[in-house]
C-alpha cells in the first residue's frame, strides 16, 4: 500500500503515545502498589474494596467497643469482688455473734462494726466509673442509685442494662442493674421463708386491703394514737406521683412515728397486704386508737402479742415432692397450744389472694398435731422444724419468699445484735436466734446473688476474649481480601515495566531509523 509521509509520522506518534501511556500506568501501579488507580480499572473490585473496607473498619470499631466493654465489666467485677469480700466478713461476724459466751456489750460492738461495713457496702453499690456515672444505676447513671430513706436504703435507679455492639450480630451487656444484684434477693430458700411472731407485738394498721395511695389534698392530715401517743401523718408525703413529697404511705407513717418520738416503732408490710406497726422494744400488742384519716387507710385496733415461748423455727427447705405450681403462692401459719403440759399445733393457710385454704389443701388432720421439739414438719412441699418450747398462742409462719435487699438484711442483723438478750426472758433468746438465722440465710442469699452477677460478668468477659480473637483474625482476613482485590502483583508489574520500556525504546529507535530514510538525502 502507498503510505503517505504524514501517515508515517502520525502512526508513529500514536504508537509512541500508546506505549508511553501504558508505561505510565504500569509505573503508577508499581509505585503505588495498587492495581486499581480509578474505579474504571476494575469496577467490580473497586466496589468490593469499598464494602470490604467498611466491613474491616466496622470490625475495628467492634474491637474498640469490646475494649470499652471490657473496662466497664472489669470495673463492675472488681467492685463486686470487694462486695463479695465484705459480705464474707459480715457473714463470719454473724456466725461469731451466735457464740453464747458473748455479752450484750460484745454484740453492741459487733453491731457498730457491722454499721461501718454497711456504710462501706452502700458506697460500693454507689460506685462510679471514670465518667462519674453510677455503674449500678441502670439507665439513670447520673443519679445516685442507693439512697437513705426513713425505711432504709432504697434503689432509685432503674432496671436498665446497657448493651454494646461487639460484632455484626452480637451485643454484650456492659452494666448490671443494682436492683438485680442488691435489691431483688429472695429471702428464705427462694420459695419460702420462715417467720416468727417475735419482735415485740404487732398490729395491723391497714387490714388485708392493698395499700391505697393518698388521694386527698394536702389540707387534711391523718392523725391517730399509737399506744397512747398521738401521731400525725403528713398528707404531703405520698405514693406514686400524687402530692409533692417522695416516698410511700409506709414512709409517711414512719416519719410520723419518728416525729412523735416513737423510735422503737417500725412500719413494715404485713403478710396479707397492708401495713403493720411493730414495737421492737416490747412484746405487748400495739394499740391504735382515735383514728382520723380522710383517706380511710388507717384502721383502729389492737394487734396480736409476740411469741412468748422459746420455740425457734428453722429455715425452710424444699421437701420431696416439691410444692406444685398451685401450692407455691400459699402461705401457712402454725399456732401452738399448750394444754395440760401437752403441746400441740394447728396449721392454717391462705392462697396468693389471701383467701383461706380449705381443708383439702392442708395436711389432714391440720389441728391438734402433736409437737416434738426438733422434729421435721413437712407438708405441701415445704419442710422445716421447730425446736424449743413454744408457749400457748405462739405463732410461726411459712410464707412465700419475698425480695429482701442486702441492706435490709444487714440492718436487721444490726438491730438483732443491738437488742439486749434478757437472761430471764427465754423469748428474747429465741428472738435473737431467729433473727440470726434469718440474717445468715439472707447473707447467703446476698452472696449468691453477687456471685451470680460475677459469674455472668466473667462469662461476658470470656465471650469478649473470644470475640477479640475472632475480630483480630477477621481483620487479617479482610486485609488479605482487600490486598488481593486492589494490590498489584509486584513481580508482574516490574516485569511489565521492563517489557514496556523495551518496547518503547525499540519503537523510538526504529522510528529514528525510518525517519532517516528520505530520498532527499540523496539529492545533491
Amino acid at each position: 500500500m502507498r503510505i503517505s509521509t504524514g501517515t508515517l509520522y502520525s502512526t508513529n506518534i500514536t504508537q509512541l503515545d500508546t506505549l508511553q501511556s501504558n508505561l505510565l500506568t504500569t509505573q503508577q501501579q508499581a509505585s503505588t502498589g495498587l492495581k486499581i488507580q480509578t474505579p474504571a480499572d476494575d469496577p467490580a473490585a473497586a466496589a468490593r474494596v469499598l464494602q470490604v473496607t467498611q466491613t474491616q473498619s466496622t470490625n475495628t470499631q467492634y474491637i474498640a467497643n469490646i475494649n470499652s466493654a471490657n473496662s466497664s465489666i472489669s470495673l463492675a467485677d472488681g467492685t463486686l469482688q470487694s462486695v463479695d469480700n465484705l459480705l464474707t466478713s459480715i457473714q463470719s461476724t454473724a456466725v461469731g455473734a451466735g457464740n453464747s459466751s458473748l455479752t450484750n456489750a460484745d454484740r453492741q460492738t459487733l453491731a457498730s462494726t457491722l454499721q461501718s461495713s454497711l456504710t462501706q457496702l452502700i458506697s460500693y453499690a454507689n460506685t462510679t466509673d471514670s465518667n462519674g456515672n453510677y455503674i449500678f444505676g441502670g439507665f439513670k447513671g447520673s443519679t445516685q442509685p442507693f439512697v437513705h430513706t426513713p425505711t432504709g436504703i432504697q434503689y432509685v435507679g432503674d432496671n436498665g442494662q446497657n448493651m454494646i455492639q461487639v460484632s455484626q450480630n452480637q451485643q454484650v451487656a456492659t452494666s448490671d442493674s443494682g436492683a438485680a444484684i442488691f435489691m431483688n434477693i429472695k429471702n428464705g430458700n427462694g420459695s419460702y421463708v420462715a417467720g416468727t411472731a417475735t419482735g415485740g407485738s404487732s398490729t395491723l394498721t391497714n387490714s388485708a386491703a392493698a395499700i391505697v395511695p393518698f388521694a386527698y389534698s394536702s389540707g387534711g392530715n391523718a392523725t391517730f394514737t399509737v399506744d397512747g401517743t398521738a401521731v400525725t401523718v403528713n398528707q404531703d408525703v405520698t405514693v406514686g406521683g400524687t402530692g409533692s413529697g417522695p416516698g410511700t404511705l409506709e414512709a409517711a407513717i414512719q416519719a410520723g412515728l419518728t416525729a412523735a418520738g416513737l423510735n422503737s416503732y417500725l412500719v413494715s408490710a404485713a403478710g396479707g397486704g397492708g401495713l403493720q406497726i411493730t414495737n421492737s422494744a416490747s412484746k405487748t400488742a400495739v394499740a391504735i386508737t382515735n383514728v382520723t384519716d380522710p383517706g380511710g387507710n388507717i384502721v383502729a385496733g389492737t394487734g396480736a402479742p409476740g411469741n412468748s415461748g422459746t420455740g425457734n423455727i428453722s429455715s425452710v427447705s424444699t421437701a420431696n415432692p416439691a410444692p406444685t405450681a398451685a401450692q407455691l403462692g400459699n402461705s401457712y401459719q402454725l399456732t401452738f397450744s399448750v394444754a395440760g403440759g401437752v403441746t400441740t399445733y394447728s396449721i392454717s393457710g391462705a392462697d396468693s389472694n389471701g383467701v383461706a385454704l380449705p381443708a383439702g389443701f392442708l395436711p389432714t388432720p391440720s389441728t391438734g398435731l402433736p409437737y416434738t421439739s426438733g422434729q421435721a414438719i413437712s407438708f405441701n412441699g415445704v419442710q422445716f422444724n421447730i425446736a424449743g418450747a413454744p408457749a400457748n398462742g405462739d405463732q410461726f409462719t411459712v410464707a412465700p419468699s419475698t425480695n429482701e435487699s442486702v441492706f435490709t438484711t444487714i440492718s436487721n442483723l444490726i438491730n438483732t445484735l443491738k437488742t439486749k438478750i434478757d437472761p430471764n426472758n427465754p423469748a428474747s433468746q429465741a428472738a435473737f436466734s431467729a433473727g440470726l438465722t434469718h440474717a445468715q440465710d439472707g447473707l447467703n442469699n446476698a452472696l449468691s446473688s453477687v456471685l451470680t452477677a460475677q459469674t455472668s460478668l466473667g462469662a461476658r468477659g470470656q465471650q469478649l476474649d473470644v470475640l477479640t480473637t475472632n475480630a483480630n483474625n477477621l481483620d487479617i482476613q479482610y486485609q488479605t481480601t482487600i490486598a488481593s482485590l486492589q494490590n498489584v502483583d509486584m513481580n508482574a508489574a516490574l516485569s511489565n515495566l521492563a517489557q514496556e520500556k523495551l518496547m518503547l525504546t525499540a519503537a523510538q529507535q526504529s522510528f529514528v531509523q525510518i525517519e532517516g530514510l528520505s530520498m532527499f538525502t540523496y539529492l545533491r
Partner: protein, 764 residues
C-alpha cells in the same frame, strides 16, 4: 523545425507545471486536509503528413486531486463517532477520578461518623463524645456537598462546552457557505477547472464540522454542497448557512439544550436524543447517561443516610428527656427537586416528599397530565409506575401532591427525588444534648414481685401497622371452590393469589389454614414483609412490618369475597407518643389457665407476637401471657419472660433521668450495616459502591470503545491518506522525473537549434 521547437516548448512547459505541482505537494505535505495533486498530461493533436501523423508535443489537461469521495466520507463518519466517544470518555474520567480516592471519599467519612455514633453508644452522656458525633456528621455532610459541587461544576462546564460546540458549528457552517460561493464562481471563471485548494479547504471544514456533530454531505453538482444534520436539520444550502442556538431546557432549566434558530428568530429546541454523535453528541450523552445518574445515585446515598438516621433519631429520647419532634431532625430532611415544565399551560405547582427511604431508586420521574389522569413515569426504564385520576400520586417511596393551582391537559413535571440530596445535606442540630441516644420507654419489675419473671427494656418502633382483611370474621372459613378456583385480591396494589389447594383441615389436599394459605400467597407475591395474623375478636388481619401506612385490600374476586376477604383500607399503625405513658402503664399478672395480664391502656389494642406469629387482643381485654413473647401496644414493644407470680406487676413508663441509656444510640450505630436501602437489600456503602461500580463500568466501557474507534478511525485515515496523502519520496522521484523531462526538452530545443544552425550554414 518549428514543430520540434513547439513540441520542446510544450514539453518544457509541461515539465515546469509538473515541477510546480510537485513543489506544491511538498510544500503542503503537512497541511491538514490537503489532497495530493498531479498534472494530467496528454499529447497534443498530431499533424497529418504524407507519412502519417507526426506528434506535436504535450499538453497539460488539468491539475487533478487524488481525491476519493468514498474514503473521505468514511473518514468523516468514523471521525464523528470517535469524537463522540472520546468526548464522553474524557468527561466521565473526571467522575472516575473523583471516585478513586479511598482516603477522602464518602467511605471514610461514613466510617468516621458511625465510629462516633458507636462512641456515643459507649458513653451516652459524655458531651465530648456527642460533640464528636456532631462534628463527624458535619464533615460527612460536607464530603457529600463537595462531591456534589464537583458534579455540579462538571455539569456547568458541560453546558459551556455545548455552547462553544454550537458556536463552532455555526462558524464552520458559515465558512462552508462562503466557500460554496467561492468555489462556484472559481469554477465558472476557470471554465470548469476544479479549484483544488478551495475544495480542500471546504472538505477540511466539513471534517472539522463532523468532529462536532454528524453531518451528511450532498453534492449538488454545480460545485455547491448541502449539509444536513442527523435529524434532518439543514445547516448549509448553497451560500446560505443556518444557525443553531442554545437554550435552557424546559424540563430542567439547569441544563443547556441545543436548538434551531429560525430566520424569524424563533428558537426550537431539538428533541432529546436527536443528536447522537460528534463532540456535541458526546457531551449530551455524558450528561444524560453518566452525570445525571451519578448525581442521583450520590444523592440516594445522602438521602438514605440523612432520612434513615432522622427516622431512628426521632424514635429516641435526647439528653433533655424529650423525643425529637419531626421538625427537629438530626440531618435536614431530604426534599425532592421538582421542576415545572416551562411550557406548561396550567398553573398547578406540585411538591414531592419522600415517604419511604428503602424504596427510593435514584431515578428521575416525570408526571404528566392528560386532562383526566396523572401518569408517573420512571425515567431510568421508562416504565409507568403509577396512574391515577386524583392526586396525591405515589410510587417508589415518593409521594407527589399539588400545592397550588390546577394543571391543564398536556402539562408535565420533572421530579428528581435524590438529585439535590447530597448538595443539601446538612446537620440540622447544633446542641449535642439533642442527640437522641436514649429510648423514651422505661420498664420495671418492682422489688415486691415474688415471681421470677423479667421484663425487657422495651423499645419504640415504627413497625406494627395493620389492617383487617376479614373485618368481622364469618366464623371458621372453609374453601369451597375447586383447586382451579383461586381467591385473588390485591394488597397495596400487588395481586395476591391464594391457592385453593392449601386449605383449612378437611378441605383440599394441602395442610394448613386460611391464614397460612393467605400467608403463602403473600410470600409468593413477593410481599415478604406482610404477615397474616388472627384478631382476638375473630377474623384475620394483614400487618405490614416496617411501614406505618395502612394496608389496602382491593379487587377481591368472588372466591375471595365468599371466603370473607373484604376490600378496604385499614388503620395506620400505632405511633408512639410519650403521652401514651401518662399515667404510667402498670400491668398485673393474674395466675390461671392461661395466666393473663391486665392494665393495658383502655383504648389501645395489644399485639402479642410469639415465635413470629402475631395475635391481636382488642383494647381493654385481658391479654394471655406467653413466656418470652413480644408484647406491643401504642408503638411500644417489650417482652416478659419467666414465671410471674399471682399479682406480680410490671410497669411501663416514660424514661426519666435516663442519662446513660444508650438503647437508641445502639440502633443508630447499627444503621451503618443494616440493610435499609433499596427494599432492604443493601446498606449505605452498598449503594455508594454501586455508584462507584457504575461509574467504573461506564468509564471502562467508554475507554474500550473509544480506543477501538480511534484505531478504526486511524486505519480509515491511513487508507484515505494512502490515496490522498503526500509521499515525499514519491515527490522527490517526481522532481527528478520532471527535472529530467525538462532537461530532455531543453536538449531537444538545443538539437532543434543545432538543426537550424545547420540549415543556416548551408546558405553560406
Amino acid at each position: 523545425m518549428s514543430d520540434i521547437f513547439s513540441a520542446a516548448v510544450s514539453a518544457m512547459n509541461a515539465a515546469q507545471m509538473g515541477l510546480a505541482t510537485t513543489e506544491h505537494n511538498i510544500a503542503n505535505a503537512n497541511t491538514p486536509g490537503y489532497t495530493r495533486q498531479s498534472v494530467v498530461q496528454s499529447a497534443t493533436p498530431a499533424q497529418l503528413t504524407g507519412s502519417g501523423f507526426v506528434g506535436t508535443g504535450v499538453n497539460v489537461a488539468t491539475i487533478q486531486q487524488a481525491y476519493n469521495q468514498f474514503l473521505t466520507t468514511q473518514v468523516n463518519q468514523q471521525q464523528t463517532i470517535s469524537s463522540q466517544l472520546n468526548t464522553q470518555y474524557s468527561q466521565i474520567q473526571q467522575i472516575d477520578n473523583m471516585m478513586s480516592s479511598s482516603t477522602t471519599g464518602i467511605t471514610p467519612a461514613v466510617q468516621n461518623f458511625f465510629n462516633a455514633v458507636n462512641t456515643v453508644a459507649s458513653n451516652p452522656n459524655s458531651m465530648p463524645s456527642r460533640q464528636t458525633m456532631l462534628s463527624t456528621a458535619q464533615s460527612l455532610a460536607s464530603t457529600f456537598q463537595t462531591l456534589s459541587q464537583q458534579l455540579t461544576s462538571i455539569g456547568s462546564s458541560v453546558n459551556n462546552e455545548i455552547a462553544s460546540s454550537v458556536s463552532n458549528i455555526n462558524s464552520f457552517a458559515q465558512q462552508i457557505a462562503t466557500l460554496n460561493n467561492s468555489i462556484v464562481s472559481a469554477q465558472a471563471a476557470s471554465g470548469g477547472q476544479p479549484p483544488n485548494d478551495l475544495l480542500d479547504q471546504r472538505n477540511q471544514l466539513v471534517a472539522q464540522l463532523n468532529q462536532q456533530v454528524n453531518v451528511s454531505v450532498v453534492n449538488q453538482g454545480n460545485g455547491n454542497i448541502e449539509l444536513t444534520m442527523g435529524n434532518g436539520q439543514v445547516l448549509v444550502m448553497g451560500g446560505q448557512s443556518y444557525n443553531l442556538a442554545t437554550v435552557n431546557s424546559s424540563t430542567d432549566p439547569s441544563q443547556t439544550e441545543v436548538a434551531f434558530a429560525g430566520a424569524n428568530g424563533k428558537i426550537t429546541p431539538f428533541p432529546s436524543n436527536s443528536i447522537q454523535s460528534g463532540n456535541l453528541g458526546g457531551l449530551l450523552a455524558f450528561r444524560s447517561q453518566n452525570l445525571a445518574p451519578a448525581e442521583n445515585q450520590l444523592g440516594l446515598v445522602a438521602a438514605g443516610i440523612a432520612g434513615t438516621f432522622n427516622q431512628q433519631n426521632q424514635l429516641g429520647q435526647n439528653l433533655n428527656g424529650a423525643m425529637p419532634s419531626s421538625t427537629n431532625s438530626f440531618f435536614s430532611d431530604p426534599v425532592p427537586l421538582v421542576v415545572n415544565n416551562t411550557s406548561n399551560t396550567g398553573n398547578g405547582t406540585i411538591a414531592a416528599t419522600i415517604t419511604n427511604y428503602s424504596q427510593l431508586t435514584g431515578s428521575d420521574y416525570s408526571l404528566t397530565y392528560d386532562g383526566n389522569n396523572y401518569t408517573l413515569t420512571r425515567s431510568s426504564d421508562n416504565k409507568i409506575v403509577s396512574t391515577s385520576s386524583t392526586m396525591p400520586i405515589a410510587a417508589d417511596g415518593v409521594s407527589i401532591s399539588f400545592t397550588n393551582g390546577t394543571p391543564k391537559a398536556g402539562d408535565s413535571y420533572l421530579i428528581r427525588p435524590t438529585a439535590n440530596a447530597a448538595a443539601n445535606m446538612q446537620v440540622a442540630i447544633s446542641d449535642p444534648a439533642q442527640i437522641a441516644a436514649a429510648s423514651p420507654v422505661m420498664t420495671n419489675a418492682p422489688t415486691t414481685n415474688t415471681g421470677n419473671a423479667t421484663i425487657s427494656s422495651g423499645s419504640v418502633d415504627e413497625t406494627g401497622t395493620n389492617v383487617l382483611t376479614a373485618a368481622t370474621a364469618p366464623g371458621p372459613i372453609t374453601f369451597s371452590g375447586s383447586a382451579a378456583n383461586s381467591a385473588i385480591f390485591s394488597v397495596d396494589g400487588v395481586p395476591v393469589t391464594v391457592n385453593q389447594d392449601v386449605t383449612v383441615p378437611g378441605n383440599g389436599t394441602g395442610p394448613g389454614t386460611l391464614a397460612s394459605a393467605i400467608q403463602a400467597g403473600l410470600t409468593a407475591a413477593g410481599l415478604s414483609s406482610y404477615s397474616v395474623s388472627s384478631v382476638a375478636s375473630g377474623g384475620l388481619q394483614i400487618t405490614h412490618a416496617g411501614s406505618l401506612a395502612p394496608v389496602a385490600i382491593s379487587n377481591a374476586n368472588t372466591v375471595a369475597t365468599s371466603n370473607g376477604i373484604v376490600n378496604g383500607t385499614g388503620t395506620p399503625g400505632p405511633v408512639f407518643t410519650p403521652a401514651n405513658l401518662l399515667p404510667p402503664v402498670t400491668l398485673t399478672y393474674a395466675s390461671g389457665t392461661p395466666g393473663t395480664l391486665t392494665g393495658f391502656p383502655a383504648n389501645m389494642p395489644v399485639t402479642v407476637t410469639n415465635s413470629g406469629i402475631p395475635t391481636t387482643f382488642a383494647a381493654g381485654t385481658p391479654v394471655t401471657y406467653t413466656d418470652g413473647s413480644t408484647i406491643n401496644f401504642g408503638g411500644i414493644s417489650f417482652s416478659i419472660s419467666g414465671t410471674p407470680a399471682n399479682n406480680d406487676s410490671f410497669s411501663i413508663s416514660q424514661n426519666t433521668n435516663g442519662a446513660t441509656d444508650n438503647r437508641n444510640a445502639l440502633l443508630l450505630a447499627g444503621l451503618q450495616t443494616k440493610n435499609t436501602m433499596q427494599g432492604g437489600t443493601t446498606n449505605f456503602i452498598g449503594v455508594y459502591s454501586e455508584l462507584v461500580a457504575q461509574v467504573g463500568n461506564q468509564t471502562s466501557q467508554l475507554k474500550v470503545t473509544s480506543t477501538a474507534q480511534t484505531t478504526t478511525l486511524n486505519q480509515t485515515i491511513a487508507s484515505q491518506q494512502s490515496v490522498s496523502g503526500v509521499n515525499l519520496d514519491e515527490e522527490a522521484a517526481n522532481l527528478l522525473r520532471y527535472q529530467q523531462a525538462y532537461q530532455a526538452a531543453g536538449k531537444a530545443m538545443q538539437i532543434a537549434s543545432t538543426l537550424f544552425d545547420t540549415l543556416l550554414s548551408l546558405g553560406k
